[in-house]
Symmetry: D2
Subunit: 340 residues, 4 copies
């Protein structure tokens, strides 16, 4: 299947390139960048040295293919759909443009004109674990945000079971790559190194995605931590009734027991008792675990993932695999490193 990556010089774009190059069913045709047009991919993605001879091309040089992956800024994706749909029958959108279906929620968190309603209705939500049936055969897929995906995977089994009472508190922590490729004062190494910076105590855009997917009210704050890759969400839930750990494990096993990319973490004696992102770098796993307090009235659910993979490019490829009937794990089998 011939694929092109639009906006291939960003971090998500780079991960798409890495994953698609090793995908057994994909021929990577074009990778676009207006700024880096003409340069070899390795000049921007140094890990691609000796992996490919491709050079960046401008958008205009993309020729007909089977699928385009849009790794472009919010707003730019929606505007360009008519163009890309003439190039490729399948579109995987990694921007935020087609994530929110409620226009009021959209306007609360995003400025600018929203997506075309007709286009919006065609997009399937890129949640393999929640929407596998919808993704099968889908031509248009909208991939969720990185922190939203982690929080949704943490909370959805509880929410569906009616176990969530009142607002959920989500403490999200994120590495610097989530901010993208453009340097600014906040990403300047002397300022960003060792930071523990709560940039967004309230009102982060990913809240809307979590509330939409889980149907619960969410308070979320986001803290920038010392890491390049990685997202961890710590979700605090007041159970709506008395539950036992055993019951909760059964719930999560039912939800994710057969999922190839969600792992339940339940250790009593090892060093890693709850999910943490560093061993997930480069993988498509979301690790999920939880701890109930002794009184049974306060539940902490923790999920972790690599924001550029399960939180972006890897999840896009997973959805694409489902849509096309490929082995779901094709191109996504890296197990992760330890120690790291």
């Amino acid at each position: 299947m011939r694929a092109s990556v639009i906006g291939g010089s960003g971090y998500i774009g780079g991960e798409l390139v890495r994953l698609l190059l090793q995908h057994p069913e994909v021929d990577l045709m074009h990778v676009t960048s207006s700024r880096h047009s003409g340069r070899p991919l390795r000049a921007v993605h140094p890990n691609m040295r000796d992996q490919t001879d491709l050079t960046f091309v401008p958008d205009e040089e993309v020729t007909a293919c089977d699928v385009v992956f849009l790794a472009v800024p919010h707003g730019a994706a929606a505007k360009s759909l008519d163009k890309w749909s003439e190039i490729a029958p399948k579109i995987v959108d990694l921007s935020a443009d087609h994530r929110l279906h409620d226009s009021a929620a959209r306007e609360r968190f995003y400025s600018g004109p929203g997506p075309d309603p007709e286009w919006l209705s065609r997009f399937q939500a890129g949640f393999p674990e929640l929407n596998r049936d919808g993704l099968r055969g889908a031509d248009h897929i909208s991939v969720p945000g990185c922190m939203a995906n982690a929080a949704i995977l943490a909370l959805h089994p509880l929410a569906r079971a009616g176990l969530v009472e009142g607002p959920v508190q989500v403490d999200a922590r994120t590495g610097s790559s989530g901010g993208g490729r453009t340097p600014d004062e906040g990403s300047h190494h002397p300022e960003r190194s060792g930071a523990l910076r709560m940039a967004k105590p309230h009102g982060h855009r990913h809240i809307a995605e979590i509330e939409q997917a889980c149907g619960v009210k969410v308070h979320m704050s986001v803290t920038a931590i010392e890491a390049v890759r990685g997202v961890q969400v710590v979700c605090r839930v007041t159970p709506s009734r008395r539950v036992s750990e055993r019951e909760l494990w059964a719930l999560y096993r039912e939800a994710y027991g057969k999922e190839p990319f969600v792992r339940l973490v339940r250790e009593r004696s090892a060093l890693h008792r709850l999910p943490e992102p560093k061993i997930l770098s480069g993988t498509n796993y979301c690790d999920v675990g939880f701890a109930l307090n002794a009184d049974g009235d306060h539940l902490v659910v923790v999920a972790a993932l690599d924001n550029l993979v399960k939180g972006g490019a890897g999840n896009a490829v997973h959805c694409f695999n489902i849509a096309n009937g490929f082995d779901e794990t094709a191109g996504l089998r890296f197990a992760g490193l330890h120690p790291v």
Copy 2:
């Protein structure tokens, strides 16, 4: 005033040495360590090179002085009080032994025999901001835990004003120096580096101190983060009634406006809008800030400090200064570094 540091080879002990050596009212007499007895201080505290000619001595060699600072493990302090009280009329205890006054709370969180009740009743709680009057002239001072101190400074003004409804959620993050000087699997650099490890989702000992000081119920989880020094607490509070940001600032200004070591952080446009620990390394400041959501029903209070200074040795010196009528900031004027 002649001072000795008992248990001077640990990290808190090292900070006591650093602070007392530059204190204008203190002569540092002895620094004890059974393991390192006879070695120069710089062999264990390399920053003390050329600052002092002292060598570690065993406890038995400490001679009569005016004050001893006990930087020894929990349990060891309580057992040794009769001995140290013959050496010095004043005792500053940095262990947990004399922090909790409710024996039920103590037994829930600590094993082993508790402190002698008569001794316990003599100790003043080492909170300059909450207990300045109690500290004046005090001979026996018990210094709070690092995360407890941060959370108490964050929450006390709200709790005292009756503004806290239901349990408070505290997300505490801590650097590796809080775990002390003894290497173990969890502190091994390849494992600990880059960690985001929730070792204690429930039941951390500092909860008892926060509940005792603030009179509110607390859920707290503790995450080990990539840092050597530093504690940050993120406290989530449901206000018991509608409050405005203005009212809250007034409350905090009233509580801390004249405090030499609590700073209110309230920035709209700078990079550091809420407290973070890295610029506090080596200082005795606790920075406090907050953000109320737009609906006014969810309040996030953030506090940060250096766990070895304001969370330990520096706070001990501050209390000691108050007790003895010295300038409160004596020995504690380092402003902190940026960038760092």
Copy 3:
């Protein structure tokens, strides 16, 4: 081919497990650890969660197989050869025991009895790039040290061409995982974090391997840097005659142009102009580059690799692939991450 890993709880052992599990020609039979016997692999190697059901077994439970990989401490490998050769006809030794062929050099750098001379003579040096012919069909392979491998790949083309005059100065930098799994004072996170610690200004053991392979005199110092994985060597060479950059590139291209795991780094305008380890984490690449000064009398050659992969487990698998006629890159195709 049935393989077992002896000493599988260490960091090199963990990487052998990761690589062999994804190797198309290998069935991983047993992974041994006396200390962790009976525990699942994931308890020690958390990245192996859901990758395998294997548990650690004691050495005694290893049954007949085709190859054993010895990831055991120096000294232990040599002593156990008679035992393992009854279990498996092929042995890949990742310890230092069979690296040095000159007993005087060995005794200068290692204590304890050396290897059995007859066994020693059977081992092929594990350098795919220097000894591919020797490795083909080899039953016994001794894999070089991590820093030695990097320095040898940097220097061998120059040394073979007679271009090295006088001693070479090697400045080696290494992450903390090179020190293995056992915690000690030096690996304790508060001490090791942010270190720039020259533990070995002279006399590091890997010097002997470089001198043996390249036939040049070497001064090497080793600095521990803030990283978990990664080795970088900076080699300073006085050319024996006037050379041009063009001539040098030709030399290196001739040596490594067709090598699957040595990449020449030659960038004029990108951020990564010379090799650095962070983008190599998890890969089997050694990146090599150089810079000649304007006067042409001082040459700086830089090489970088992941000490646990190209500097250990990955190189072992590469040698094993050559020995058995497998695709050389089998099990080793991970391209590395960026950003990271």
Copy 4:
């Protein structure tokens, strides 16, 4: 003494502010920044919260004072001397403009017009340890570069004793703050974090300063390391004759034994046997140590300092103290932190 800092929003400027505010002989009058004019200092230097009420002013608002510290870019200092000399009789220049006295060397490393020769001749070199007599009473002081200062302090005693044969190899490592405050692709956290990046294998500007001060030929390469603050230089020297360690220690003790800010590091059993920068953050110390190999023909000298303090603002204040007959350590007594 009334002082103003010109270019006070940069990192060196921020350190000047921190040090001068706590200097017993100095009244800090004005801190200039065209970009941040009108903002409080804490908006840019968050460690200055509650330390001062000063706001940035434009250069034009600086009124007559006793001394100006120029923390401005290279080239800008030389051009503005006539202006500043009307404002203040004393000028401390932290730029490179008045460091090099040989115009050929200057032109090799710097573009643009050089300084006015008459002005140049008035500036004393800011080396307390090499030029204390010259600094006494000096009105114009030019402070050396950070890496140059470290290398000069490492090499000068050897060079003066005629012990250096042939070129010296200097391997310099530097944290990110040395690159200043302006974000660019190379300082972007995802790229810079964990870097081990040899940006300058040859031809760094500080070479000229080392050669000028020591009279020896220098090859120096510079590697960016994972740190915000800190410089370490590893200098490799071939002794011109057989020397003993004892003789070398005598040489260094003679040179630096009475210096307040150079410490000789000579430990056999501690963790920190050779200088490293992390414990020097915020201090004005340069730590120096060395190791001679067993054959006595290869000497490794290591020096470390904080690039913003001893490598910049602190050294400027030290020189200023000498020039004005103040206690040399005034404002500079911070001992540094451990662990950190």
